[in-house]
Amino acid sequence: MSERLTRFFASRWGIILTGVIIGILASLLQKLGNPPNMGICVACFERDIAGALGLHRAAVVQYIRPEIIGFVLGAMMAAYAFREFRARAGSAPIVRFILGMLAMIGALAFLGCPWRALLRLAGGDLNAIIGLAGLAVGITIGVQFLKSGYNLGHSHKTYPAVGWIMPVVMVGLLLLAIFQPKVGENGAIFFSESGPGAMHAALAVSLGAGLAIGFLAQRTRFCTMGSIRDVVLMRDYHLISGVGGLLVAAFVTNLALGQVNLGLFGQPVAHSSHLWNFLGMTLAGLAFALAGGCPGRQLFLSGEGDGDAAVFVLGMLTGAALAHNFALTGKPDNVAEGLGGGLTPSGMLAVILGLIVCLVIGFTMRERIQPETTEAQPTPTGATFGK
C-alpha cells in the first residue's frame, strides 16, 4: 500500500494534484487574511520570521508565519510515515549558507520567491512574467554549471539528532507564535501592527495549510526551481506539470474570489522596476540551482532530515536580515504618489555582487567528469565505484 502510494505521488497526476492544492490553498489563505498578491511566499514568510525574531527591524514585515513551520513539520510527518526520514549532512554547508543568503537577497529585490512569482502571475501581476524570465535565466546558467561538472559533493549519513534540529526549531517557533512572549519593552518577539506582516490568516488555518502542503510536497518532491531546471537540462516535464497545476488552480481560485487585478504598476507589495525584477530573480534562480532546490523544497528537505538544506534555510533567514538592515530590498510602487519603486543603489550593488559570487562558486566547484570508458576507480565523490 505504502509503495503504491509512493508510486502515485511520483506520478504525473501526483505532482499535478500537489500543485493544484498549493495553488488553491495559497489563494484561499489570501482571502482569509494573508497579504494580497502573495498568498504564500516562502522567501517573504522567512523574512517575516527573521523580523519577528528581531534579526531585522523593518516594522511592517514581522510575523512568525505558521505556513513555514507547517512545511517543515508536514514534510517530517510524511518522511516518517513512509520511512524516508534520513539524517544526512556535510555537503559544503558553508557554500549552501552563502547561497541561501544570496537567494534571499535576490528574491527580496524582486519581492518574492518563485512560488510568489507564480501566485503574482495568477493574480494578474504582470511584473511576475519578468521575474519568472529572470528566474529561468538564472536556472539556465546554473544548468550550464551542472552540465560541466558542478556539484557540492557528498553528504553523509549522520545522527538522527542532526535531522531533528530543524523540526525542533520549528516547534520552538510555533510555541513563540502561540504564546507571543515579550522579553522586555524593546525586545523580541515583534509582530507587525501594520503592513504585510500584520496580514495573516488565523494561526491554526495557516498551520494546517502548511502541514498539508509540507506532507504532499515531501511525497511528490514539488520544486519550482527543479521544474525549470529539469526542462532545460533534460526536457523532463514532470515537475513543471505540477507548477502548471499551481498556476492554473491559483488563477481559477483568484477569479472565483475576485482576486485578479491585471496590470504592472501599483500591484500590492511589488514594484515595476523591470531590470531589477529580472536581475533579482536571476540571482535567486542561479543560487537555487546551485543549491539544488527552491526555498520551499529546501524547507521540505530540512524536514526529512537533510541538515544541508537546513543550513540553506538558515542562510535565507540571515540574508533576509541583512537585506533589510542594509536596505537592499525592493521598495514597492507608491500608488498614492504615483511613484515607481525599485532598488536602492546598495540593493543594486548587492544583486550584482551576488551574481558574481554565484558565478565564482559555479566555476570553482566543478569536477572533471571521468570519461565513461576509463577503468573505473573509487573516487572521492564516488561517481563510479568499479567496472
Binding site: T6, A10, F82, E84, R86, R88, S91, L146, K147, N151, L152, H154, S155, H156, K157, R221, G226, R229, D230, L233, M234, D236, H238, G292, G293, D308, I369, E372, T373, A376, T381, G382, A383, T384, F385, G386, K387
Partner: protein, 69 residues
C-alpha cells in the same frame, strides 16, 4: 561487465546526470546506487523515459537500480 554508478549522498540532480551519462554510453547493464527514495524515483523515471527497463532492489536503507535495455 556491469557498469556501476555510485550516486549515494549526491543531491538532486546529480544522480540523474550520472545515470544518464552511463545510459548514453550504452554499457548495459548499469547498476546505480542511490540513498533516497527521491533519487530512486528520479533515476527510475529518467531511465524509463529513455526506454530502459529498471529493476529496483532495496539494500538496507539504500537502493540498487539495475538498468537494462
Amino acid at each position: 561487465m556491469t557498469k556501476k554508478v555510485d550516486a549515494r549522498g549526491l543531491s538532486c540532480p546529480q544522480p540523474i546526470i550520472l545515470a544518464g551519462k552511463a545510459i548514453e554510453a550504452g554499457d548495459f547493464p548499469i547498476e546505480v546506487l542511490v540513498e533516497t527514495v527521491t533519487s530512486r524515483e528520479n533515476v527510475r523515471r529518467m531511465a524509463e523515459a529513455k526506454k530502459c527497463r529498471v529493476q529496483v532492489e532495496a539494500i538496507g536503507d539504500e537502493f540498487k537500480l539495475v538498468i537494462t535495455r
